[in-house]
């Protein structure tokens, strides 16, 4: 039954396709590493090029898939080095990645995240090879009610992020959800908080949001650090550059767990790398953060979102290849590429065009190895970014922010908005807020409202639909357990030990 894969490797290992996989991986890493320019742009830019160059379908797809997976690798770099997420999936990577860099461990952090990305992606590609048709059936069982329950679960697991200042974490999350309310209401078409500005109809764009919150506020904070002698915020000299085997082994279960979580979230249509990163990070914090060092530069805190976002990227191929339904914005663009070549995605693709389906999957394996080989040894080189003087780094971040937002919107309003959000982010950070809850609230809150209201549209207002199916019921129970157990367990345990005594 794996004939298609063997054929696929034959296709993918031809010199042209191998070269394209390599090129795609390189370009993708670059697209991913540049904040504001993500895999969608990379693919949208290269797709017409591949088509005009007259590449055969499987070669074009191999190139584009390389860009996609490469971008997920690249996104982590600026997260770790600059505290600015390179793309949507890498937001959670800043939480522990950047503190590690501040400890002088940028090299190992880059290396470890490359390994995590590799493990996560590998889990997902194997899952894709073995279970794609089966998973596709499960994925469509997720309707609005199930997604709403999933969001409840995600918010419940966020409770773990409360940390030392629960009020500010909660305020951050609420503000994030409120920002997600801006724009056309997806149910009724009513405009909310747009103040008559057409630029706000589609809501506040994710890229504008993360570039503003992270990049612009980072520029302002860098200025403060440059002007203060007392603060210990100066970057320490770069320590060792390679990640040690011990560190990788320390994170092995994290990678496996989060790779699996990321894959499942990626398979579901409508949720992608950003949700995968969030869910895996909070789950991992709950499972393995016994000393409370997540957020201060914990290796596992870095490995978790990185394994998950790469797994999600590969996972989103499942609904695309088996059902012809895009699982993410990026696969939607890839689907468009397939249509240009007159290829029908779906189960038929495996029998009718095995060289395309097999070639694509094989190229994912190959691209992943190429990316690891590319990223591990170069970690030390990339870490050198930290030694770039601020007077070069800051203008560089500004250029990337402006060019990235401008090419997405061709509109100055988006840039003004980015600057306003930047000031807002700076103030929040000065006031002791963490930015992650804001982003999580923004990503999950919109999905939560939409899916609640979709579910109720289906049932005509009957709330019973929200826990009707086994999947949603299970998610509700899991959410309740997440909230109750940490509070209940210690009590039960102490009672037990008391009884024993």
């Amino acid at each position: 039954m794996f004939d298609f894969l063997i054929d696929g490797f034959g296709v993918a290992l031809s010199p042209l396709n191998l070269g394209l996989a390599f090129l795609g991986a390189m370009l993708g890493t670059l697209f991913g590493a540049l904040p504001g320019i993500g895999p969608i742009n990379g693919i949208a830019i290269l797709m017409p090029l591949a088509y005009t160059l007259g590449l055969p379908a499987e070669s074009a797809l191999i190139l584009l898939a390389g860009v996609y997976t490469g971008a997920e690798y690249g996104g982590r770099m600026s997260s770790i080095l600059l505290n600015v997420p390179g793309d949507a999936g890498a937001v959670m990577t800043t939480l522990d990645g950047h503190p590690l860099a501040k400890k002088g461990l940028a090299g190992p952090a880059l290396g470890l995240s490359a390994v995590s990305s590799f493990v996560g992606a590998t889990i997902a590609i194997i899952g894709l090879t073995l279970f794609a048709p089966l998973l596709a059936q499960v994925a469509v069982m997720f309707g609005p009610a199930e997604f709403f329950a999933l969001m409840i679960f995600a918010f419940a697991s966020m409770a773990v992020m409360m940390g030392k200042d629960p009020i500010k974490t909660a305020i951050g999350a609420v503000l994030g959800v409120m920002i997600a309310m801006v724009g056309v209401d997806s149910g009724t078409g009513v405009l909310r908080y747009t103040f008559g500005m057409a630029e706000l109809y589609d809501g506040i764009d994710f890229v504008v949001m993360i570039i503003g919150l992270f990049a612009i506020s980072e520029i302002l904070l860098m200025l403060e650090h440059a002007n203060r002698q007392d603060a210990g915020d100066e970057m320490p000299p770069l320590g060792r550059v390679m990640v040690s085997l011990k560190e990788v082994l320390y994170c092995k279960w994290t990678m496996l767990r989060c790779g699996l979580i990321g894959f499942i979230v990626g398979v579901l249509p409508g949720t992608g790398a950003s949700v995968a990163g969030a869910v895996s990070y909070t789950t991992e914090k709950r499972l393995s953060d016994k000393e409370g060092t997540f957020g201060t530069g914990n290796m596992r805190g870095l490995a978790a979102p990185e394994a998950a976002n790469n797994a999600a990227a590969a996972g989103s191929f499942v609904p695309m290849l088996t059902l012809g339904i895009p699982g993410s914005g990026t696969t939607a663009v890839l689907l468009g590429a397939l249509m240009l070549y007159n290829i029908t995605p779906g189960p038929m693709m495996f029998s009718e065009r095995p060289e395309v389906a097999g070639g694509l999957i094989a190229s994912l394996y190959i691209g992943n190895v190429v990316l690891l080989a590319l990223n591990l040894p170069l970690a030390g080189l990339f870490a050198k970014v930290l030694t770039i003087p601020r007077w070069v780094l800051v203008p560089g971040i500004a250029i990337l922010a402006f060019a990235g937002v401008y090419q997405l919107h061709s509109d100055l309003m988006a840039i003004y908005l980015m600057l306003i959000i930047g000031v807002f982010g700076y103030l929040l950070r000065k006031l002791g807020f963490s930015l992650a809850p804001v982003i999580l609230g923004y990503v999950l809150g919109g999905l939560m409202e939409d899916n609640l209201r979709r579910a109720l549209s289906i049932s005509g207002g009957d709330v019973g639909i929200l826990w009707q199916s086994g999947i949603s019921l299970g998610l509700w129970i899991a959410a309740v357990l997440l909230l109750v157990l940490p509070w209940l367990l210690p009590k039960l345990l102490t009672r037990k030990s008391l009884d024993g005594a």
């Binding site: 503000l175 203008p395 500004a398």
Partner: protein
Amino acid sequence: MKLAADRILGLALIGLAAFAAAQAANLQIPFSYEPVGPKAFPIVLSVVLAALSLVLVFRPGENGHWPDKALALKLLAVLGVLLVYALLFTRLGFIVTTFFAVLALARLFEATWLKALIAAVLMSLGSFYLFTQGLGISLPGGYWLPDFT
């Protein structure tokens, strides 16, 4: 006066919550297929936000250091540079505005004039050609360009 910042923030957020709730309450909805509608979420969130902010007003937490006057002026200068960069971005085009933005930012981050000039020339041209030629991304050429071809 460390604690005052959180109090001010709390009051400001209560104001924001009131504004957001009032905005949502005034939405004109032609019709909706479900009972929740577009008003419920914003209003509930506003209430939650106001409640949380109230806690903040009465039990403020720790804040970082606030910049002194000289630093605050510098911060405003950086923001000013970025704002002017944005204002002129399409009008004068990417290369010219980026040149001046890099020059100003590098100076604000204490580079010498020579270093800043070199950075400005290299970064404005380099990034323009990386984006437009290397990555196929379109950037503003500037509205004055068509005048002299």
